[in-house]
């Protein structure tokens, strides 16, 4: 019920929004506001402020839909307004998330070194037997409902803000790397480092959960 619904094409959406079709507005509002809130949270300091940024964005969308030119997708256009709104708020709240350079904790390996054979050993750098990732299967409906969904939501909230911003833009909003670099004024290399680290942290959480919950000794230390 709460899962993502198939939206009509941009052309249809824009036409209906311009015609004042309330049902269509409610549909996009309900489909995108969640991801937008999540994204706004990585720029501003409080939930209230994030909600206001999303609210301001929708008001700008309502007033500006006639100016939408269709050069980007409707969703990209809406998200761009949000990023600018949230960024401006963040700056005012002195909670800017500067992206110019990487922090020390954002660099270095993203997988526990103990899972690989030590340098000097035979097959150095390859998975230690029993430490290699084991295949998992998350059925789609399981993701959309239930504990896995909660787990991921919580794990995203716990990501450091910069990682969360990039993961949200790429994986929730569906932006390409070029768009994210231009939105955040960040180099392609740094963008990738942050995205990679964010995804690796989330994958690790899922791994612990899925194997922990099934009582299978996966992932964690052997002994």
């Amino acid at each position: 019920m709460a899962g993502p619904r198939e939206l009509p094409s941009d052309e249809v959406l824009v036409q209906r929004l311009r015609a004042g079709d309330e049902e269509t507005f409610a549909l996009v509002l309900d489909s995108w506001s969640g991801g937008m809130l999540r994204l706004a949270m990585s720029f501003v300091s409080t939930k209230d402020s994030a909600e206001e940024a999303v609210q301001d964005t929708w008001l700008a969308v309502i007033r500006g839909i006639d100016n939408f030119e269709g050069r980007a997708s409707l969703k990209t256009w809406v998200y761009r307004i949000l990023v600018n709104t949230a960024k401006a708020r963040g700056t005012k709240e002195s909670r800017t998330v500067p992206f110019a350079s990487l922090l020390p904790e954002e660099e270095g390996p993203t997988v526990d070194a103990e899972r690989f054979r030590a340098p000097g050993e035979q097959y150095a750098g390859h998975w230690v037997a029993g430490q290699e990732p084991r295949p998992w299967h998350i059925p789609e409906d399981h993701v959309l409902r239930g504990e896995v969904r909660e787990l991921i939501a919580e794990a995203i909230d716990e990501l450091p803000p910069r990682l969360r911003t990039v993961v949200t833009l790429r994986d929730v909003a569906g932006y390409g790397s070029e768009e994210v670099c231009s939105l955040l004024e960040i180099s392609p290399g740094n963008q990738r480092v942050l995205l990679h680290r964010g995804r690796a942290l989330l994958r690790r959480k899922l791994e612990s959960y899925l194997f922990g919950a099934q009582g299978v000794a996966g992932g964690r230390g052997r002994a």
Binding site: P4, D30, G34, W136, D171, L206
Partner: protein, 76 residues
Amino acid sequence: MNCAEFVELVTEFLDGAMGEPTELRCLVHLARCEGCETYLDQFRQTSAAVGALPGPNLPPAVRDQLLGAFRGLPRD
């Protein structure tokens, strides 16, 4: 290429952003390393699961206000 190197290249690999020689080395590694193939697949699944996640809800009062603003917009 070993597994410790491959796991750090997964995002670049999925973005199709790497040079041909590195991409080829990744493919060669993947062809004979089940663990890394699984890791790659799980990265894809993680990214997809994040995308399928419904976010927090707007407070009903804000939602109502926005619906009202949409309704109240003068149109020709």
